[in-house]
């Protein structure tokens, strides 16, 4: 009997995704465990496995379709020799593709966004429905061209009989509906319209929410790095020159560990504020912001306070690479209790970061640079870095933030604790 394969929820907060690639064709035999499709969520590309076996009878949502709601059918699995059901008598959704369960903590579920579902689903017949369930009249040729261009037909105005969408309507239409780019009044040239990726939309939504709902306050401190850099040089000198045990600890690795230790000694920042209560987390999971094409993602070093520098270094390197390749698993970026954003490599003097909700704090790390410092009434030169802490004032008060920063500075300037 035919079963629907549904858009899986790859993370607790995922409301919709993009079918980026089909790994099976219509008519292909599918066995349980076979990879059938690649789904792009707001943060990563995931491969989806089949749970049942059968024949991939129909691909309902073609490749490249964005904004496919979780739990909406993306394909129909039939048994061998079985006829495809009409779409109207939708088969029961048994073969739901597996959603790798993440041990994500209690991030409040987001309300479904108002993004349209895939009305450009083509050449499947489901394309006749828009999100409102209203029938769209589209010529078959227009439907195909829209799918080829990645157009959402719901946003196209039809000029044919009774508003039927014709070829000319999709020929002229722009891909997707971009955020209306306000052209500068002095620049008559038309803005280039680039559709927002699902990641860009999520960044926009989450950071807007953060800035609007979370009362940020900022505390900065100058931290001398010479001791830490000296330690790093010594550690790296101890690495085998080649082979399996080779390592190369970065300043970032050291800072992850330092932040984790500061949180352990001052756990008041390892929290999450909710209306009713404040959650204090036993584990210290550090999210590190990684810049990737078209956005950023925050893979997590879990229990960073308990890991060795070597472990942190290896893990951070692996996560950053897979983040850039879009291959992170949801549990690798979902959750985290505190974030670090490091722009030291860009030579910036200082900056403040937006809190990554629902966390309560984020540390912005700028570049270390030689500065004049006063030591015992004398001028001296030291390598100094300005670190700025952004904190959710609902959960953390100013004094606590300052206390934490001092703890961090103490660790970085006396870094041997990092290796004990």
């Amino acid at each position: 009997m035919a079963t629907n394969i549904l858009m899986p929820a790859l993370s607790p907060t995922m409301t919709e995704g993009t079918v980026s690639r089909w790994l099976k064709k219509e008519g292909d035999k599918v066995r349980s465990g076979d990879l059938i499709a690649e789904i792009e969520t707001d943060k990563a590309t995931m491969e989806v496995e089949a749970v049942d076996e059968g024949i991939l009878g129909r691909i309902v949502v073609p490749e490249g379709t964005e904004g496919v709601k979780v739990n909406s059918p993306i394909a129909i699995l039939v048994e061998e020799g079985e006829a495809l059901p009409e779409l109207s008598d939708t088969p029961p959704a048994k073969a739901a593709a597996p959603a790798p369960q993440t041990a994500s903590q209690s991030e409040p579920a987001k309300a479904p966004t108002s993004v349209q579902p895939a009305t450009s689903a083509q050449p499947s017949r489901s394309a006749d429905s828009s999100s409102a369930g209203k029938r769209l009249f589209v010529s078959p040729l227009a439907r195909r061209i829209a799918a080829q261009k990645g157009l959402d037909l719901a946003s196209v105005k039809g000029t044919g009989p009774n508003g039927r969408i014709l070829r000319r309507d999709v020929d002229g239409a722009q891909k997707a509906a971009p955020v209306a780019a306000e052209p500068a009044s002095t620049a008559p040239a038309e803005a280039k319209r680039v559709a927002n990726s699902s990641m860009r939309k999520v960044i926009a939504r989450r950071l807007s929410e953060s800035k609007q709902n979370v009362p940020h306050f900022y505390v900065s401190v100058d931290i001398e790095l010479d001791a830490l850099l000296a330690l790093r040089a010594q550690l790296n000198a101890a690495s085998p020159s080649e082979g399996e045990g080779q390592f190369k600890i970065s300043v970032n690795d050291l800072m992850i560990k330092a932040v984790a230790l500061a949180l352990r000694s001052c756990p008041g920042l390892n929290v999450q504020f909710t209306e009713a209560e404040t959650l204090h987390f036993p584990d210290i999971d550090i999210s590190m912001a990684v810049s990737i094409p078209d956005g950023l993602i925050t893979p997590i070093i879990r229990q960073a306070d308990r890991k060795s520098l070597r472990e942190i270094s290896a893990e951070a390197r692996d996560l950053a690479k897979r983040a850039r390749d879009g291959k992170l698993k949801p549990e690798e970026f979902q959750g985290g209790t505190f974030s670090i954003s490091n722009m030291g490599m860009f030579g910036v003097r200082e900056f403040s970061a937006i809190i990554n909700p629902p966390q309560a704090g984020i540390l912005a790390i700028a570049a270390g640079e030689k500065r004049a410092v006063v030591r015992g009434g004398e001028l001296a030169v030291a390598t100094v870095m300005t670190a700025t802490l952004s904190v959710d004032h609902r959960a953390v008060d100013g004094a606590l933030g300052a206390k934490w920063l001092n703890a961090l500075r103490d660790i970085v300037q006396n870094p041997y604790r990092l290796v004990i």
Binding site: P123, S139, P140, L141, A142, R144, I145, Q148, G160, P161, L166, R167
Partner: protein, 467 residues
């Protein structure tokens, strides 16, 4: 002066249809027609030629009965009766048009119309009969649907006796033994086919390098082969020399790339195109633009002069009755403030009723290639179609041209029996913007020649089942 909402000048397939549609929309309409309601199409074109061609097909079949197990002796025809039947069909239909207009309360004026200035917003139309003005009528909108007539060239002028236009060719008193047809468009080819099937020796001279130049080259080559098989002599790239008339014959020299042919015939038919009837309409005092004997119009048939519209042959190619009728409807709906869809030139089918018939819509292969499209082309021969064989009509081809990327049906080209009745299927596909997917899904009845339409689409995707 009688006032109307709309005056239509010309009662052909453009004009009378425009008048009927306007009446449907509640307009008070007048039609001015100088000769016959129904125009050339109904009186001297489409319809009477079909009656003649039907007779010539019968003659052909009566001489080829053995294939079906029949025999007949002393088969003969009376040309006068053949022509009389054709005229009868025209008369019947013309009366029908008159009845339709009467029923729609359209006022028909018998006479020639000429624009005679304005009275405020209204155009004044002077109606005259035999050179004398009969009446003046006025309306804010006037549709010019005056049609066209045969084109002449210096040295190639009709004389009504030895050198004919379609007009004389349609009412022959006797069958010419030898006939030269100059021009191989639909008109030339249909007359060549008629006279050949009635028993005349026929030569076609075409100045272009192939016959039926508007059609796909592959189809036109097949048509030429079929005509030659029937005994028609086809000369392409042909220049016809002076027509020397002597003792009831015409002699001339026809030069082609392969040399010069001396030809003596009893009759010559000129079928080298048409010119628009733009003279003596009073256009000089208006902003109407005329280029190469045709009135320039926009996609809703508007001329440069407010309230003046032009449809059909007088408004330019393609010179087809169904194009004129459709323009009449669009034009009237626009006048009535509706929002009609302009006529898409590539969605107008063309039909030629020779034996074999030819029908097409959309782009030829050559033009589709020139448009830079990646193509998928399907061909299905009638030889592989059961119904065609059963009917004894194994010569034919259905060719379809698709855009390989979008599946758009760019063009369809058919040659063979009944293709003029079938091409509308592809026209619907084009107008509705169907792709190969819907055409593949369509169930075609078996056994019919229309199955070649299905198979041709399948063939374009390498999926033909019966070939």
């Amino acid at each position: 002066m009688d006032k109307f909402d709309l005056i239509v000048v010309g009662g052909g397939p453009g004009g009378y249809v425009a008048a009927l549609r306007a009446a449907q929309l509640g307009k008070n309409v007048a039609v001015v027609e100088s000769t016959h309601l129904g125009g050339i199409c109904l009186n001297w074109g489409c319809i009477p030629t079909k009656a003649l061609l039907r007779a010539s097909e019968l003659n052909h079949q009566l001489h080829n009965l053995a294939e079906f197990g029949f025999s007949a002796e002393k088969v003969s025809f009376d040309l006068e009766k053949v022509v009389a039947r054709s005229r009868g069909v025209s008369r019947q239909l013309s009366r029908g048009v008159s009845g339709l207009l009467k029923k729609a309360k359209v006022k028909v004026f018998d006479g020639r119309a000429k624009l005679a200035g304005r009275d405020g917003k209204a155009h004044i139309v002077s109606v005259s009969k035999d050179g004398a003005e009969v009446t003046r009528i006025g309306a804010p909108d006037v549709i010019l649907a005056t049609g066209a007539r045969a084109r002449h060239f210096p040295g190639l002028e009709p004389d009504g006796d030895l050198v004919w236009t379609y007009r004389e060719a349609m009412v022959p008193k006797e069958l010419p033994k030898r006939l030269l047809v100059i021009g191989s468009g639909a008109i030339g080819v249909e007359f060549a086919s008629f006279y050949r099937n009635m028993g005349a020796e026929v030569t076609i001279a075409e100045v272009a390098d192939r016959i039926m130049i508007a059609e796909d080259a592959e189809i036109s080559a097949m048509a030429q082969k079929a005509f030659e098989k029937q005994g028609i002599k086809v000369l392409t790239g042909a220049k016809v020399g002076p027509l020397n008339k002597k003792n009831g014959t015409v002699s001339t020299q026809i030069t082609t790339a392969s040399g010069t042919t001396d030809l003596v015939v009893e009759k010559v038919i000129l079928a080298v195109g048409i010119v628009g009837n733009v003279e003596d309409l009073g256009l000089e005092q208006t902003k109407v633009k005329v280029e190469k004997t045709h009135i320039i119009v926009d996609e809703f048939c508007r001329t440069g002069e407010p309230g003046l519209w032009a449809i059909g042959d007088v408004a330019g190619a393609p010179w087809l009755a169904h194009k004129a009728s459709h323009e009449g409807v669009i034009c009237v709906e626009k006048i009535a403030g509706h929002d009609p869809e302009p006529l898409h030139p590539l969605n107008i089918p063309g039909c030629t009723y020779s034996r074999p018939q030819v029908a097409s819509v959309g782009l030829t292969e050559e033009k589709a290639k020139a448009a830079g499209r990646k193509l998928k082309i399907g061909r299905f021969p009638f030889m592989a179609n059961g119904k065609a064989l059963a009917m004894g009509e194994p010569d034919g081809l259905t060719k379809t041209i698709f855009d390989a990327e979008t599946g758009e049906l760019l063009g369809a080209h058919m040659i063979g029996a009944e293709v003029t009745e079938m091409i509308q299927g592809y026209v619907i596909a084009r107008t509705s913007e169907l792709t190969e997917a819907e055409l593949k899904e369509t169930v075609f009845p078996h056994p019919t020649i229309s199955e070649t339409m299905h198979e041709s689409v399948l063939a374009a995707w390498g999926e033909a089942l019966h070939f």
